[in-house]
């Protein structure tokens, strides 16, 4: 496969090469390289992994094995906003499950899935270490504390409004890095 350009739309190697370069072309920096690539591209599809493997001169299977092992790496594109509901023990005891149920109902998605209009991705995340403010929900990088199911719906509406949300405009084309960057 020709990896200098993944789908003919943007130069893949131009994104990945500098990232690999500033990490010293060091295979032991693979996780850091994947973090930075995901930050730049939004996700880590197969051809991206292939490109990284080429740059680091290691088997693509090894890159794939690392990508699939760690939960923060994703091979599918995410929505405009990622909702991460903390399901640490403190949040669980304070009712995080009810929030998840509410979100699943409101957004009509399961955990790890993206809404049909590509606006929200629902994630359940590991303890974020804000247990004294449980239950905690992250939307992108914003921390929301002492959340209740009712409050959650209100929070969602803010994010929809902020984007001047309209379903027609916000369909995310998974291939393009510019739109992916908007969520970061």
């Amino acid at each position: 496969m020709e990896t200098s350009c993944c789908c003919g739309q943007y130069p893949l190697r131009e994104i990945i090469q500098p990232i690999v370069e500033r990490n010293g072309r060091d295979p032991s920096m693979l996780i850091q390289i994947l973090h930075e690539t995901q930050e730049a591209m939004g996700y880590l599809p197969q051809d991206v992994q292939q490109c990284i493997a080429d740059e680091l001169k290691m088997p693509p299977a090894e890159v794939y094995s690392v990508v699939t092992f760690y939960s923060r790496f994703t091979m599918t594109p995410k929505g405009l906003h990622t909702i991460s509901v903390c399901l640490g023990t403190a949040c669980y005891v304070k009712g995080a499950e009810a929030i998840i149920e509410k979100l699943k109902k409101t957004l009509a998605v399961g955990s790890g899935q993206t809404t049909a209009d590509g606006v929200f991705t629902l994630d359940i995340c590991r303890c974020v270490g804000a247990c004294n403010k449980a239950p905690v929900v992250y939307v992108d990088n914003d921390q929301h504390e002492f959340v209740t199911p009712e409050l959650m719906v209100e929070i969602l509406s803010h994010y929809r409004d902020d984007q001047e949300y309209s379903a027609a405009e916000s369909i995310v084309d998974p291939g393009l890095p510019e739109q992916e960057e908007a969520q970061l």
Binding site: M29, I31, E36, E39, S65, V66, L87, V93, V128, N132
Partner: protein
């Protein structure tokens, strides 16, 4: 994702021959002499009471500006490193740590000094020190707080450890979920390099040490030491077979000392104030203090640091101000997913490593979740088992399959489909996992089940025998029944996703319990309060 792309390493040895603002030993001594203890600050009734606490690891947290190394100097910062380089041989440093009785704060409680001694004695000229900041236990956030509020303490302690074992390179493995901690630690490392406290010829005493950050990527098992080392090397974070232990063959196959953040945070104080002072705090087997993340159903939650041996009752009721909303205490969960639930009859147990193991839990990294009477213990066990299924790395069979089987049993129980023999099968499976799993994650994965079975067996039996959840917590144990208020409006029948409601218009409807999926849609849709939720 702040902090990930902003962070880059560019310094190796020799990259910066002259320090921007070199710190001298004399200056450090003068600052340390002027340093005073922070007065205990009471934050009011919303926060855990300060009186019964004793702060060593958290001493500077909240009192200094973590982004200014000068503030840390004013709190006698780096004085311990200077003292060590000036006055002690590596062997003497290890002896001080041994004498202090400091044990690993990450969970297992292995004596820190002995770890250092093994690495010190291991042959080889290249050695590493590593800091485990992969704080994965749900409900624990002391490592995050130390790194965010006092990052220099960890850097200083790692330099001391490096001197003691003969290492010149260190790694901090930190969760990617903690962007602020990564940012502050990064900044702190930069400042320490400016002052010549990291790098070549530290404080002019011929000792070299530099520090790197490695980010995790969301895998609980990476808190296990050998899995962490694999992850630092950029590989899948699966545990290695031990022995050889990391002290002999660790990072990149070199002797490696690996300690938790909180353990390191105790080291500078021990060096400054002496091992006798530290060992005077705590109990016979467990010296010093422990930080707990007090959370759950408690009035004043937050981070607290208490001397080892403080009882749970003191922690929950005197420092945490008890249970809110007039509810009763049911259990305290310590040790995260590897720990257990402690019932009310053990509230007076002094909290130290041995006592907690004796009552079927463990210290763990210090998460302490308080649960009131509304929480179902089977549900809690199921919650942890779901976590374990998700986080089992899959390398060894007992853990990979055992966690899944245990979860299936627990699901059966909470759905009222289990038999009494299932409980015995769970116990036997748990024992197999404990004795045959590769790493501590699998060996302790069944602890939440075993400890709840030990103290709350009656709840399991109520689920299995009476198909009833005594805490009214398990969703599938509820029964929805239509009472005589029913006007036969058909609203509930059309709301029901399972088509479990039958009845003709204007006549009382009936819910078929076999078809009901317990979603509660009928209860929400009814305008006449005709649907009852029974337990």
């Amino acid at each position: 994702m702040n902090g990930i792309s902003t962070y880059h390493e560019n310094t190796g040895f020799g990259a910066r021959p002259l320090y921007a603002r070199p710190m001298t030993s004399t200056q450090l001594k003068a600052l340390a002499a002027a340093a005073t203890d922070h007065p205990a600050k009471d934050l009011g009734s919303d926060h855990p009471s300060i009186e019964k606490q004793c702060r060593i690891a958290l001493a500077n947290c909240g009192y200094i500006d973590p982004e200014r190394i000068e503030d840390y100097f004013d709190a006698a910062g780096y004085f311990a490193l200077d003292k060590v380089l000036e006055q002690y041989t590596p062997r003497q440093v290890i002896q001080i740590v041994l004498d202090s009785g400091l044990r690993g704060r990450g969970g297992a409680g292995f004596p820190t000094g002995r770890k250092w001694l093994f690495a010190h004695e291991a042959p080889g000229y290249k050695k590493f020190v590593v800091c485990n900041a992969d704080e994965g236990d749900p409900g624990a956030f002391m490592d995050r707080s130390v790194l965010e509020l006092d990052p220099h303490a960890v850097i200083e302690a790692m330099a001391i450890a490096a001197y003691a074992v003969g290492a010149d390179e260190g790694y901090v493995y930190i969760r990617a979920e903690y962007p602020v901690a990564v940012k502050r630690l990064n900044k702190a490392i930069g400042q320490a390099r400016d002052y010549g406290l990291l790098g070549h010829d530290i404080l002019g005493r011929g000792f070299n040490f530099d520090l790197h950050i490695r980010l995790g990527a969301g895998a609980f098992v990476c808190g296990e030491e050998t899995a962490l080392l694999n992850s630092v090397e950029g590989k899948r974070g699966t545990p290695r077979l031990r022995p050889p232990f990391p002290a002999i063959k660790g990072l990149f196959e070199k002797p490696t000392v690996l300690n938790n953040v909180e353990t390191y945070a105790n080291v500078p104080a021990i060096i400054r104030r002496g091992s006798d002072w530290f060992s005077s705090i705590g109990t016979d087997g467990s010296k010093g203090t422990k930080v707990f993340a007090l959370g759950g159903n408690v009035v004043s939650g937050g981070l607290i640091e208490v001397p080892m041996g403080t009882t749970l009752r003191q922690i929950i009721f005197e420092i945490g101000n008890g249970i809110p909303d007039g509810r009763a205490f049911k259990a305290a969960q310590t040790g995260g997913p590897s720990g257990g639930c402690i019932p009310a009859e053990h509230l007076d147990t002094p909290v130290d490593y041995e006592s907690l193991v004796r009552i079927g839990s463990m210290m763990g990294s210090g998460g302490l979740i308080v649960m009131n009477e509304d929480k179902c213990m089977v549900g809690i066990a199921k919650f942890f088992m779901e976590f374990m299924v998700e986080e089992s790395c899959g390398k060894c069979t007992p853990c990979r399959l055992g966690t899944r089987q245990l979860l299936r049993f627990l699901e059966k129980i909470t759905r009222g489909q289990a038999e009494m023999s299932d409980i015995e099968a769970m116990e036997s499976l748990a024992e197999t996992m404990r004795s045959t799993s590769l790493c501590a994650l699998g060996q302790t994965a069944a602890n939440p089940v075993l400890s709840t079975l030990r103290y709350f067996r009656h709840e399991y039996e109520a689920h299995v025998r009476d198909k009833r959840c005594p805490s009214r917590d398990c969703k599938f144990m509820a029964r929805f029944v239509i009472n005589d208020n029913c006007k036969g409006c058909r609203k509930c029948a059309s709301a029901c996703p399972a088509e479990a409601i039958s009845g003709t218009a204007k006549k009382k409807h009936i819910i078929d319990g076999k078809l009901c999926v317990k979603c509660g849609a009928c209860l929400e849709s009814c305008k006449f309060e005709a649907v009852d939720k029974e337990w």
